[in-house]
């Protein structure tokens, strides 16, 4: 009953001029940054974080969330029309979507993506409301040991599920933790790794690190090669599915939505893993698996539905537990913290209007995105004709001014520039950046929880095996740590088996 009241209050909060404008600009910006190769919704959110300082917390969160799921819609357009995925989660869409565009079926690919994303977004939002309430009620019984283990799971899962090299991912997470240690120790209040510099007393803020790693670094990489592909045409009259196309794709949309939401719940898995898994599963169920890779409409439907549903899935642990499972949710969590709000189990009871307002805003946002992507897709397609090279200096400038504006200090801008350089080197050396950012966000929770847990147990680590929830989380942690080794061993056996058969 309380949740229904909360939802009603949330809808009221959305149906204001400020709320509707925040949602509209959020999904519009998300659509545009999703379409821009090399930028992505996470970078777009990081660049706009300084702007949210002047906004109401509710509007800020709705706008940033709009960028997050709007980016999933936007990535489709460049994938289909130019064969360049605007987002990493659109890689599978590019595989078959561009083939469809070459066959003169760009409209079908774009419309099935839009409809699939809409259905997945709506179903995912309903599932989010249920999951967030459920997780939150369980998490109210959590204490310091459980929160430490949750933070550790958030960091290790991003390495084992979302990375090609778990060792590199864990090493970058350790790097993020070491960065987070700079500043004042949260419990004893002593300076730590500040080297006597007053600027380092506050540590490294999330905002300039994220702006540098995802804004400046990606623009530098994109300037190495300036592509000149012209987008294939997408006409308004082609933007409707035939009855046959709808019958081919409707179950793909449903399967993709379920897979996407479930995978999105797992920290670190993210939209890319969801889209790939949904694509692979759909190939098994498809009546025409031979079309996959050559223009399979159901493949496009499955992957696009999955990447959208995964965004709503990832929001559940972020809202209910304060554990971000992806870079995008990490930025959203940072935005809430900057507004003075700490996500966690008490968020739904302390800030019900904020949470339900966010959930309600996602219904509205998905409707707006459906309108933008069905009849208005040719308009966005026309924007692709603006050469990216004219946008690159502007993106860098927004990064620099945004970083400066966050604290009115050149120091923050310098930090963003330094991390821009570090991010560029990380991209070239194939070192994942997401674990670094996740660790930076989770470090305070992890350290404080660990030290509080050991304080409660008077220094005994047995507290982690004496509580049932802790034991369950330890098992989950062990699974995530063992998973990459088991998978590597299975791959080696499969390769040895194939060599034996030859």
């Amino acid at each position: 009953m309380e949740n229904l009241t909360g939802l009603a209050d949330g809808i009221t909060a959305v149906m204001t001029v400020e709320g509707m404008l925040a949602i509209f600009f959020g999904v519009l910006i998300g659509q545009v940054v999703g379409a821009l190769p090399g930028l992505g919704p996470s970078a777009g959110m990081a660049l706009l974080l300084p702007v949210t300082f002047g906004m109401d917390a509710q509007a800020a969160v709705m706008m940033l969330a709009g960028i997050l799921y709007g980016g999933m819609y936007g990535g489709t357009i460049t994938s289909v029309l130019i064969n360049v995925p605007g987002e990493s989660s659109s890689v599978m869409t590019a595989l078959d979507g561009h083939q469809l565009a070459r066959q003169g079926r760009a409209g079908a690919a774009l419309s099935v993506s839009a409809i699939g994303s809409f259905v997945a977004g709506i179903c995912g939002t309903i599932a989010l409301a249920i999951a967030a309430v459920g997780l939150s009620s369980i998490a109210l019984r959590f204490n310091a040991p459980e929160f430490f283990l949750l933070a550790l799971i958030g960091i290790t899962a991003s390495a084992s599920l979302g990375s090609r090299s778990p060792i590199k991912a864990l090493l970058m997470a350790a790097f993020g933790l070491m960065i987070a240690f700079v500043g004042i120790d949260p419990i004893s209040g002593v300076p730590r790794l500040t080297f006597g510099y007053p600027q380092l007393m506050d540590g490294f803020d999330f905002l300039p690190v994220a702006i540098g790693l995802f804004g400046i670094a990606e623009v530098l990489v994109s300037l190495e090669r300036l592509s000149a592909e012209r987008p294939l045409p997408a006409r308004f009259r082609d933007m409707w599915l035939t009855a046959r196309e709808w019958s081919e794709t409707r179950f793909a949309i449903l399967r993709g939505s379920v897979i996407g939401f479930v995978v999105g719940l797992m920290p670190g898995a993210g939209a890319t893993v969801s889209a790939f898994l949904a694509y692979v599963v759909e190939r098994r169920f498809s009546r025409h698996p031979e079309r996959f890779g050559h223009g399979a409409l159901d493949g496009v439907a499955a992957s696009e539905s999955a990447n959208n549903a995964s965004v709503t899935g990832a929001l559940a642990p972020m809202l209910a537990l304060g554990i971000p499972g992806s870079t995008g949710t990490a930025v959203l969590l940072a935005a809430l913290v900057l507004q003075g709000i700490r996500p966690g189990p008490t968020l739904m009871t302390d800030q019900p209007v904020l949470v339900w307002g966010l959930i309600a805003s996602m219904f509205v946002g998905n409707v707006l995105l459906l309108i933008m992507n069905l009849p208005l897709a040719p308009v966005f397609a026309a924007l692709l004709r603006i050469p990216y090279v004219y946008l690159a200096p502007s993106i860098v400038l927004f990064s620099l001014v945004g970083a400066y504006g966050a604290t009115n200090s050149a120091y923050t801008m310098i930090v963003a520039i330094v991390f821009g350089g570090i991010g560029y080197q990380m991209i070239k050396a194939d070192l994942p950046r997401a674990p670094l950012v996740l660790a930076l966000v989770l470090a305070p929770l992890m350290e404080e929880s660990l030290r509080q847990a050991l304080l409660l147990s008077i220094g005994s680590p047995m507290i982690f095996v004496q509580r049932p929830f802790s034991v369950a989380l330890l098992v989950v942690l062990a699974v995530f740590v063992a998973l990459p080794f088991v998978a590597a061993r299975a791959r080696r056996r499969a390769a040895a088996g194939q060599d034996g058969r030859r």
């Binding site: 240690f181 120790d185 790794l193 004219y390 200096p393 001014v401 400066y404 070239k428 050991l454």
Partner: protein, 153 residues
């Protein structure tokens, strides 16, 4: 092009140095304070983990065949990246003196004309629109006090 193997070993070496740095520069902090972990407790654990992971990465890279190459930029691509980096540094150093609004206009125009070799008219348009957006968003709407130049802009 350089080998990815070398890049990974370089990254492992850097991380090892960072971990040793954390251990060294926290040596004056307490590991344990009475019945609770001190300020050095978690950094030391993380530094230990980072050391192990750095060694593992080094060994993993050493065992790889070393065929995969890092795609470092060359020629015009390298010039564009270096030019953009130079422009960023000039903006950071000179923006406070010229004022951010003027510096923004010059940054966009300069990078488009000199680094990215674009035609004059679209570059002027892009610089004007970007500067207007910066002014409108940060100064006009958010009221952020960006540095002003000698002419008060």
């Amino acid at each position: 092009m350089g080998s990815l193997k070398r890049a990974e070993q370089g990254a492992a070496a850097v991380m090892l140095l960072l971990a040793l740095g954390v251990v060294w520069f926290t040596r004056n902090l307490g590991f344990w304070a009475g019945i609770t972990p001190g300020a050095r407790f978690v950094p030391l654990l993380v530094a230990g983990a980072a050391t192990v992971l750095a060694v593992l990465l080094f060994v993993q890279a050493a065992r790889s065949d070393g065929e995969e190459q890092v795609d470092w930029p060359r020629g015009a691509g390298l010039a564009r990246v270096c030019g953009m980096v130079a422009a960023i540094l000039i903006f950071a150093l000179a923006g406070g003196m010229t004022g951010f609004v003027a510096a923004s206009f010059l940054f966009v125009l300069g990078t488009l004309l000199l680094v990215l070799r674009r035609p004059l008219l679209p570059s002027l348009l892009s610089a004007t629109i970007t500067t207007a957006l910066i002014w409108g968003l940060f100064i006009g709407w958010l009221g952020v006090r960006l540095p002003v130049g000698p002419f008060g802009v």
